[in-house]
Amino acid sequence: MTSETLTPRIERADSETAVTERRRRRGTGGRRRETGRVISATTLLWVLAAAYGFPLLWFVLSSFKPAGDLFSFPLTLLPKSWTVQGYVDAWNSFNFYQFFANTFIVAIVTTVLTVIASCCTGYALAKYDNRWLKVLFVAILATTMLPTEVMLAPTFLVVRDLGLYNSLGGIIVPSVLTATGVLMFRAFFLTVPDELVEAARIDGARELSIFLRIMVPISRPIMLTLAIFSFQWRWNDYIWPLLVLNDPSKFTLQIGIQSIVGAQNINWSVLLGASVISLVPLILLYLVFQKYVMNVNINAGLKD
């Protein structure tokens, strides 16, 4: 629609005389306006960036303050004396390293399983065509309408009856199927030309070896992107682990941190340290794999 209304303008712009005439008219004024725009856009960008960055900066800097200085007014941005005591205390209290290890196991195992299951399903939905696959596609879309939060009680009962209550398996298995992952792979495999599959078939390759030897290798960027997303989701999960895990030795980081926050008197020094430690793996992961996160066209998966 937009393109139609704009075509006449584009045609007019294409005629060279109009272009040069306008350029001449703008002259130096145009350049000055250009500088003005650079200044205003850059200022706005960095004001916002400062606003978004400051809460975390303040938090991290505070975590290096000695416990006694945390509440001593006037507050200072930089710690007067730097200490890592908060981190040491956090690490040594509440089985914290155990929480850390549990979270790692859950996040990594779920991520591997999610990537495998999503890749297979996404490929089948994109490259095969029959009625029950369409039904499955609709069913997977429907899961986006049924988030964990909506079905807490019945899903909990299912997990309990399967004997997964109070085990890490109870948070891993139900999280493997994600609509986003399936849709991401489906969108990707739709862009892969059917001729590639046909050619392999003519060469006599079997269906599953086409998938394993041609399709899986070319989908590696999607795998990495989904892996990063999945790792982040599972690392940050809260409500489901809270329901399924009962034994403190099986807690994940988020539950551990919430148990510090929920205490009658919050031990801020430990809380700050624990929270910052819990952020480190994700931030490292993001910095290393930045381009896979930023270049992803999440739209593609969600649009259709």
Binding site: L6, L75, L133, L272
Partner: protein, 318 residues
């Protein structure tokens, strides 16, 4: 390697017959390739059946019972729903959830769109570093975000009140006033949700043909006009998705409230999911909580359907 070998040798053997078989198979292709997709989707089909379809069914059944999670249960008809719609705590939670959503969605929309525009603008400098800064809040879990904002807005110890007092103001009751407390959660939710919506917007804006902008700029359109008349209409489908996703996420917010104000002061900021959690798991009324869950699900579906309908109508009008 061995796999490669066998397939290759088989391919040479079957090549003469492969051509006609494929051609014959074209039309009823579905019959030929039924087995492979079956294997490929098997895992997710089982997971869907066990963790989505089955819970949905038993949840619906339990919502008509007095099940407590253990032992036997009796069917009580629509008693759970009657009790639910007569419970003032439910209405309070529902109202607070809707209020929270109404505050978060526009705030989040405006900020993520603004940031996305600055991130693709040819005029702004330092985008690589800014991008990381905007993105980090998205990595942070709702629990830790809550802690971060609680630390910043602490009533007696927070930096914000310290600055207000240093400037001669009076300490603001960020924790003990229900509405101010909710506003802090709105800020935290916007802060954490911007990056994801921003990614969607950036992808959409980059897909708008550059020629539109060039043509309009030659005609003397300023940045605001370009945004208003080209960017905004072109990214309408993405705006729709962003609004839908933020609405759904806001409606089921739980962890952020838990760590920021624990649904407080008192129970004033208890949202729907917290209500379900408390009735179902702290009071053991699985049947009752299932009924509440069903109401939440119907609300979420209604939101999605209404937004889809509105989106379709506006698209037809254009």
């Amino acid at each position: 390697m061995s796999v490669t070998g066998t397939t290759a040798s088989r391919s040479t053997e079957t090549r003469p017959t492969a051509g006609p078989r494929i051609r014959r198979g074209r039309a009823p292709r579905l019959n030929h390739y039924r087995f492979a997709p079956l294997i490929l989707v098997a895992v997710n089909v089982v997971l869907f059946a066990v963790f989505f379809a089955w819970p949905a069914v038993i949840g619906f059944i339990y919502s008509f019972t007095d099940y407590t999670g253990v032992g036997s249960f009796n069917f009580v008809g629509i008693a759970n729903y009657e009790q639910l719609f007569g419970d003032s705590a439910f209405y309070a939670a529902l109202g607070r959830t809707i209020f929270f959503t109404i505050l978060v969605v526009p705030t989040s929309f405006v900020f993520s769109l603004l940031v996305a525009n600055l991130m693709v603008s040819a005029y702004s400098r330092g985008k690589l570093v800014a991008r990381i800064i905007f993105f980090v809040p998205w990595l942070i879990s709702p629990i830790v975000s809550g802690v971060i904002w609680r630390w910043l807005f602490g009533e007696n110890f927070g930096l914000v009140n310290f600055l207000i007092e240093s400037l001669g103001g009076k300490a603001v009751p960020w924790q003990s006033n229900a509405d101010l407390s909710l506003i802090v959660v709105v800020i935290a939710a916007t802060w954490g949700g911007t990056a994801f919506s921003m990614l969607l917007f950036i992808a959409a804006i980059k897909n708008v043909p550059v020629s539109y902008y060039e043509a309009a700029a030659l005609d003397g359109a300023g940045p605001w006009q370009l945004f208003r008349n080209i960017t905004l209409p072109s990214i309408a489908p993405t705006s729709f998705i962003v609004i839908l996703l933020t609405t759904l996420n806001a409606m089921k917010e739980y962890a952020l409230f838990q760590s920021l104000n624990n649904g407080g002061p008192g129970t004033s900021n208890n949202l729907l999911v917290q209500y379900i959690y408390q009735t179902g798991f702290q009071q053991g009324q699985i049947g009752y909580a299932s009924a509440a869950s069903f109401v939440l699900m119907i609300i979420l579906m209604a939101i999605a359907i209404i937004q889809l309908a509105v989106n379709r109508r506006t698209e037809r009008r254009r």
